[in-house]
């Protein structure tokens, strides 16, 4: 699957193959999420109730909760993300250039025209979200509209629409909401352990059990969370969207030049956060205070993407 930087562009993964992969990923993602929540609920119940029966009793609740959260992210996650990014829907008749570009490229990809949103922020960036092409939205920042010329804008939009066409948006959206939920739950679990653990000490008079449970939880959670992150940060997905976007416009230089401008721009996108960062075309957070952060990079290095795009031309 890995492509060497100098390789000429060949669209090796078709849109339909990517769709099939993403259907599988969606199933995997929801299964992993349910598993984590069930594990957390079991440990939670065990600690609070003082025995394994209470833990098991918590499992149906956990499944109900996971189903609810998954359904919520599936149907309303896009609205949540758009609202959090303070994106405003573009009314009919406004932003004519943007609309023309989006409509033309949507036709070129054979997908319905997504809803358009603008984020009033000077940092140039863009993202696409939604559960499928019929319920997709594309959001761009004011900075993007102001700094990009038409071919650069086409490059960026083509990248975003490729995510829509490949059904990446659904996986990315579920990852954003579900990983956020797991992080929240683990946090609660850790807090309650100190509290619940102490009451348990009184019952059983042993501290060794807590450590065992903590170890167990970490052992269960770590590989699953790692898988989730891997799904979230799939660099291959970004390279693929770059490649199919370039193929769609027949002009890789447009996106390359847009990425160069984004990399050179000093603004930081104020409305982006750790959860939504992976949705954007280029990492909106930019700062890497610790080397450790590199592990959680949501995007391949921008220089590498530009190099690959230029090799296609």
């Amino acid at each position: 699957m890995t492509q060497s930087p100098g390789q000429r562009f060949v669209p090796r993964v078709s849109m339909y193959d990517a769709q099939a992969q993403n259907r599988w990923r969606t199933v995997l993602l929801i299964a992993a999420f349910t598993l984590i929540v069930v594990a957390i609920a079991f440990v939670f119940g065990d600690i609070l109730g003082g025995n394994a029966t209470a833990g098991i009793a918590a499992v149906p609740l956990a499944i109900l909760f996971s189903a609810g959260t998954s359904l919520f992210s599936y149907f309303a996650g896009d609205r949540l993300v758009l609202a959090q990014s303070r994106a405003r829907e573009v009314p009919e008749g406004e932003e004519k250039v943007l609309r023309d570009v989006v409509e033309s490229l949507a036709i070129g990809l054979g997908i319905p025209v997504p809803k358009l949103y603008v984020i009033e922020d000077p940092a140039p960036n863009a993202f696409a979200t939604g559960r499928d092409p019929k319920h997709a939205s594309v959001a761009v920042t004011r900075g993007l509209l102001e700094t990009m010329d038409r071919s650069e804008l086409e490059g960026v939009i083509a990248h975003e629409l490729s995510h829509v066409g490949n059904r990446d948006i659904r996986v990315m959206l579920l990852v954003t909401v579900l990983v956020g939920t797991v992080a929240l739950l683990s946090d609660w679990l850790l807090r309650s352990m100190w509290w619940g653990g102490r009451s348990r000490d009184r019952d059983r008079g042993s501290g060794g059990g807590i450590l065992l449970i903590v170890g167990l939880v970490l052992a269960i959670l770590t590989p699953v969370i790692a898988t989730l992150i891997q799904l979230a940060v799939s660099r291959q997905r970004e390279y693929l969207a770059d490649a199919s976007g370039a193929f769609l416009t027949r002009y890789p230089q447009g996106l390359a030049s847009a990425l160069r401008k984004i990399a050179a721009d000093p603004h930081v996108l104020a409305v982006a956060n750790k959860a939504t960062a992976s949705l954007y075309i280029a990492n909106p957070l930019k700062d890497h205070p610790f080397q450790f952060d590199r592990l959680f990079d949501t995007h391949p290095p921008i220089e590498e993407r530009i190099k690959r795009l230029e090799a296609m031309g």
Binding site: D100, E103, S104, L105, I107, G108, L109, G110, L248, R250
Partner: protein
């Protein structure tokens, strides 16, 4: 006994192969048809814009009758070809229309007042946007035709395609495609 099992397995595999191949060809052909409807929509929009454009230009350059007639005729031809549903005929008619429109805009260049009229600006912008969309619709369509035709020609699908009566679809080629070919250089 053993031979019966082997035969059954072979028949089942063959049947599965037949079903999947047939379904794949149906899917591919369906994609071609859907892509074609995109082109159709955009071509109709283009045809709808032209009468207004001609009227607007007429208001400022009434005596350029030949140009208007050429555009109106070319449009009528294109609409008629559109009804035929044949990509080849339609492409031909559209190319003639493009040529006629080019001379209309060349005429319009000579009338500075016309260039300042908002309606003219809007119409020519809309026309450019629509032509852009036709170009993308054509790309998507031709991509789907290529996938379908390739499937028809590759072994062993080609045998079944013949049996089931699947035939190759036509590409939709417009003039700018030809222009991109190697320029002919004459030394004489």
């Amino acid at each position: 006994m053993d031979i019966t099992i082997v035969l059954i397995v072979i028949v089942v595999i063959l049947a599965l192969f037949l079903i999947t191949t047939y379904n794949r060809l149906i899917t591919l052909r369906q994609r071609v048809k859907e892509a074609w409807s995109d082109i159709d929509i955009q071509l109709k929009r283009r045809h709808d814009l032209i009468p207004n454009l001609v009227e607007t230009v007429k208001g400022y350059a009434a005596h350029e009758r030949g140009t208007f007639e050429a555009v109106t005729n070319a449009r009528a031809q294109a609409v008629a070809a559109g009804a035929s549903g044949s990509p080849q005929q339609m492409a031909q008619a559209e190319n003639v229309l493009t040529g006629a429109l080019r001379s209309l805009f060349a005429v319009a260049e000579n009338y500075p007042q016309l260039q300042a009229v908002q309606e003219f600006k809007d119409l020519s912008e809309n026309l450019t946007a629509t032509e852009d969309k036709i170009a993308f619709a054509r790309r998507f369509y031709n991509g789907n035709v290529r996938d379908y035709n390739t499937a028809l020609q590759t072994f062993p699908t080609n045998i079944l395609a013949g049996v089931f009566g699947f035939t190759a679809e036509q590409y939709f080629e417009l003039a700018d495609q030809a222009e991109r070919e190697v320029p002919q250089v004459k030394f004489s």
